[in-house]
């Protein structure tokens, strides 16, 4: 079979053409292509690695932020609590003080009233005493207008003293 006997011409041309293609492509195609592919791959790998790093950093920052926020929140609650306590304390103190003040005022007022009442009572008593003396004077004046009566009365008073 002629099929199995290699033809020299074709063998020769194939050999030459293949080698020429190999050298041309090696210089102008495969070299740059394979190099670029490799560089691109390493570039992508680096990008991914740096992205991963940034992501980790972001995560760290985020967690830091979160803890800061938490702290702030806690502080705020504490401050609020403190403020409330202070407020309550102030109110209570004020109340207490007001009560004391009020009591004092009441006491003073009561004393004043007492004093005024006493003064008024004394005045009234004096007035009544004066009136009684006046009335008694008038009565006596009237009764002691005659001599006999006067005499009798002195008698009576002298007896009274004697008895004492």
């Amino acid at each position: 079979m002629g099929l199995l006997i290699p033809d020299f011409g074709l063998f020769f041309w194939t050999l030459i053409a293949f080698l020429v293609v190999l050298f041309i492509l090696k210089k102008f195609a495969w070299g740059p292509i394979v190099k670029t592919l490799q560089e691109r791959e390493s570039g992508i790998a680096e990008s991914i690695a740096s992205a991963e790093k940034v992501k980790a950093e972001m995560k760290l920052m985020q967690s830091q932020n979160e803890s800061l926020l938490m702290q702030a929140r806690e502080e705020r609650t504490m401050m609020l609590k403190e403020a409330k306590e202070t407020k309550d304390k102030i109110i209570n103190e004020a109340k207490e003080q007001a009560k004391v003040e009020a009591n004092k005022i009441m006491e003073d007022t009561r004393n004043q009233i007492e004093r005024s009442k006493n003064a008024a009572m004394t005045e009234v008593k004096n007035e009544i005493g004066k009136l009684a003396v006046e009335v008694a004077e008038k009565i006596l004046r009237k009764q002691l207008a005659n001599q006999g009566e006067q005499h009798n009365y002195v008698q009576m008073l002298a007896e009274e003293i004697k008895l004492n």
Binding site: L10, V21, G31
Partner: protein, 380 residues
Amino acid sequence: MVATFSVFAQEEHGHENGEEKKGFDASEVIFGHIGDNHSWHWFDIDGHAYATPLPVIIYENGKGISCFLSDKFEHGHVPYNGYRLIEKHYATEHSLPNEMIGKIVPVDANDNIIANAQYHDLSITKNVASMLISVILLLVIMISIANKYKKNGVMKAPSGFQNAIEPVIIFVRDEVAKPNLGKKYMRYMPLLLTLFFFIWINNLLGLIPGGANFTGNIAVTAALSLISFIVILFSGNKHFWGHLFNPPGVPFGIKLLLVPIEIISLFIKPVALMIRLFANILAGHIIILSVVSMIFIFGALSTVAGWGFVPVSMAFTIFMFCLELLVGAIQAFIFTNLAAVFIGQAIEEAHHHDEHEHGYHAHNPETGQEYNVSEDTIVA
């Protein structure tokens, strides 16, 4: 090349009236296609062959180089410049073997072959022409893609045709070169990529109707495997040659047996490469042509049978074409992969002495994975 189209009447195809009587010679059509030719035959219409003549280049000792177009032979009817294209009638007249048909031989003034002439036929035959087209295509495609890489810089995504070729290049690098060649794969990348794309593009061009059976020619696969063989021999390290001529840890008696086997296996490797590609592509072409020829064989029996067979034949042909598209890529991959495996064996550093006889063996330094591909797992 197609523009220089010229038209000839070819006598042996001239079955003007007697086509049915003479019948359809399928083997002539098939072997006419799968063999090489000095003109690019496109088609016949009513016995007229439409073909493009190709340059004939012959070097003869003492005479020098002769260069002319093949239409000077008028399809083998006349000698030209002391040469003759052997055709059927001449072969029968001079009782030459069939494989001489289509060859160019030096003849004397009486049109007899000069038996002891020292000459080489370096003509641009149909296969060579087809190869030149593929070479130009390959160079244009790959260099334009390479320029795109240079222009776009490193960190830009591939686009267009670059995007189609890039995965193939990465495939050859990651599936063929890296697993078989280990750390030194960069040295062999140009060879492997060229082998792969050269075989692939020629397989595909061969499938175009009217195309040449280039990779299905044993001279072509012989040239490719010779290159692979030379690369294997030149990259062989001390460990490889040591194991070949003096396998360690083997008794002397067995060494006597083993060393010749090892040496034979060294030569069988490129031969296997050569025959595998040649036989696969040739078989594909023969099957497609046979199935198409069935129409004309049936047509020669009766016109109705011929037309009736058309759908069946077309279905088979389309199926075979799809299969051949696949085979074209697979065979390019297998040739490249086996070349890489053989080179990998030659450059392999010393380790795991017990695994050597089991088959093609390679080591992946990245994963530490062992690859053992035995000859019979790659049947295709």
